[in-house]
């Protein structure tokens, strides 16, 4: 087991009452796994990722990498943050943003430049080298963050909704890119997404989280063929089945804790808020 999450619990202590983001999570990733993580918004996916990246100390439990407890960011791990815009350095050009971690890794200049150019070309930003991140569109920024992670050639890659801001076509291309990377380089990938199709298309397994207080609801093995393809895989009947299953699970997860949203989202904005919170507490 490469990455091992054991009895993880995270409570944010704030000025106000503490927020229990994660109650109890236990799961593992073998070397070379590609696992997708889905769960309702606010259920603690980002929190989990940060704990696994060694950026956040768990309240209870632990994360182990190669059987060593993670206490700080381990080497060889790359993270693509959900807040892609804020994770790029506004004072550096796109190229420098991608190059910085490599420079830090001690890679020679020539090779670095090749890696950067390649990574940027691969995400479709071959002509944006000299732009600053804030001169790019949201989707382009996100792709820079992806390029940075790809160029870094990590052993473990954690991605937090990395394709949220790109268009359908680019998304499909990037999905294939990720699977390609994974197959060729044997990277271990944990991939957070909201897109159920994407989760099923990409992953060997899909971990479905419950809504807050968060536990693992189900770990679903994806028994689709190894070689996947946007057209054939997605029209596969097994794919449709899996997808429906995941959807139902998430729906159920949300239903359990958030009956109200569903009712109100449909019914429009009729009643006063008082009655809603009452409804909830019932």
């Amino acid at each position: 087991m490469l990455l091992d999450v054991r009895g993880l619990k995270k409570v944010y202590e704030g000025r106000q009452r503490p927020v229990e983001a994660i109650r109890d999570l236990t799961f593992g990733l073998d070397a070379g796994d590609l696992v997708c993580l889905v769960g309702p918004s606010g259920c603690g996916k980002t929190t989990l990722l940060k704990c696994m990246a060694g950026l956040l100390a768990p309240t209870e439990g632990e994360v182990r990498l190669r059987d060593k407890r993670i206490t700080g960011p381990p080497p060889g791990m790359a993270v693509v943050f959900q807040e892609y815009g804020r994770s790029l350095f506004p004072w550096m050009s796109v190229r420098d943003n991608v190059e910085l971690p490599l420079r830090n890794k001690g890679i020679a200049r020539r090779q670095r430049q090749d890696l950067v150019a390649q990574a940027l070309a691969v995400v479709g930003l071959a002509d944006a080298h000299h732009a600053y991140p804030w001169q790019l569109s949201g989707g382009m920024q996100q792709r820079v963050a992806i390029a940075r992670a790809v160029a870094y050639q990590p052993d473990v890659l954690l991605m937090d909704e990395p394709f949220a801001a790109v268009d359908a076509q680019t998304r499909a291309d990037l999905e294939d890119l990720i699977r390609d990377l994974w197959r060729k380089l044997g990277v271990t990938i944990l991939f957070v997404t909201h897109d159920i199709d994407e989760a099923v298309y990409l992953g060997q397994r899909v971990i479905i989280l419950s809504s807050s207080p968060t536990v693992v609801r189900e770990v679903l093995g994806v028994d689709l063929p190894e070689r996947r393809d946007q057209l054939t895989t997605r029209s596969d009947s097994r794919f449709t089945e899996l997808r429906a299953h995941v959807y139902a699970q998430i729906q159920a997860a949300k239903r359990e804790s958030m009956e109200i949203l569903a009712t109100f989202g449909r019914a429009g904005s009729g009643k006063s808020s008082r009655s809603q919170s009452e409804a909830k507490s019932v």
Binding site: A78, F81, L100, P101, N104, Y152
Partner: protein, 259 residues
């Protein structure tokens, strides 16, 4: 081109109005300490001859440059340390605040005990005064580094000097620039104050001598020169800043769409 011209025009408009007001406001002045502006302008070229500039203004500027450099260096180093380590801040802040509140005129004699009465003392005085805005702003800038960026650096193993150079200093640089800009004019003021003690040349010394010897138009011409000096240095500073912070100004400008 026209852009540049309008900018120069705008920069000159208010000073011209103020100088006109000064000129006409003091035209018939018989107050000994408020001579007519005409008188001041007449004395200006007489007082600030080439020889005076070489003998008084230049040494002052060199001391200013030295003191300012020391202050920037010390302020940023200490600021990064104090800003990023909460413990260190808790220990050092009261001591620093203690010294910050002591006026230079009473501090100078104490500094003289350690640094003598030569140029070293004056440089120390200038540095000791300039360092505060830089220090405070650096501390605040370092404390305010964006959490997501900090996480990004940590997860890519960018730590130590690389983190300092690529994250901390860059992200705090707008605020450090604010501090450096404050410090510039404070440096000029302290240059004057330091030359009130144990000096025998310098711009501040000359102005104080004029004041003591009741050469009031000469004194005013010196004050005028100080103002011009401040203006010139700030223009230089702006140029440097707009280069160093191009990303920052560009970002703000680009995203501020209209106009």
């Amino acid at each position: 081109m026209t852009n540049l011209l309008t900018r120069i025009g705008l920069a000159l408009a208010l000073p011209v109005v103020l100088f006109a007001a000064w000129w006409f406001g003091t035209e018939g002045s018989d107050n000994f300490y408020v001579p007519p502006l005409r008188e001041i302008l007449r004395t200006f070229p007489e007082v600030w001859t080439g020889e005076r500039i070489r003998a008084d203004v230049l040494p002052s500027l060199i001391r200013l440059a030295a003191g300012y450099t020391v202050a920037v260096f010390a302020g940023v180093c200490l600021g990064v340390l104090v800003g990023s380590r909460r413990r260190v801040r808790a220990v050092l802040e009261p001591v620093l605040e203690f010294f910050r509140a002591i006026p230079p005129p009473v501090l100078v004699p104490v500094i003289m005990l350690f640094a003598g009465i030569g140029d070293t003392m004056k440089v120390v005085v200038i540095a000791a005064g300039c360092v505060w805005p830089i220090l405070l702003n650096t501390v605040e800038g370092v404390r305010a580094v964006d959490g997501v960026l900090a996480d990004t650096c940590r997860s890519y193993g960018i730590t130590g000097p690389a983190r300092l150079r690529h994250l901390v200093l860059r992200s705090a640089s707008p605020q450090i620039a604010a501090g450096m800009r404050q410090a510039l004019s404070i440096g000029i003021i302290l240059m004057v104050i330091s030359e009130m003690f144990a000096a025998s040349n310098g711009l501040g010394f000359t102005i104080v001598q004029f004041q003591r010897s009741f050469a009031i138009p000469d004194m005013w011409s010196g004050i005028l020169l100080l103002g011009l000096l401040g203006l010139a240095l700030s223009v230089l500073f702006r140029l440097a800043e707009s280069r160093a912070l191009a990303w920052y100004h560009g970002q703000r400008r680009a995203q501020r769409g209209l106009r």
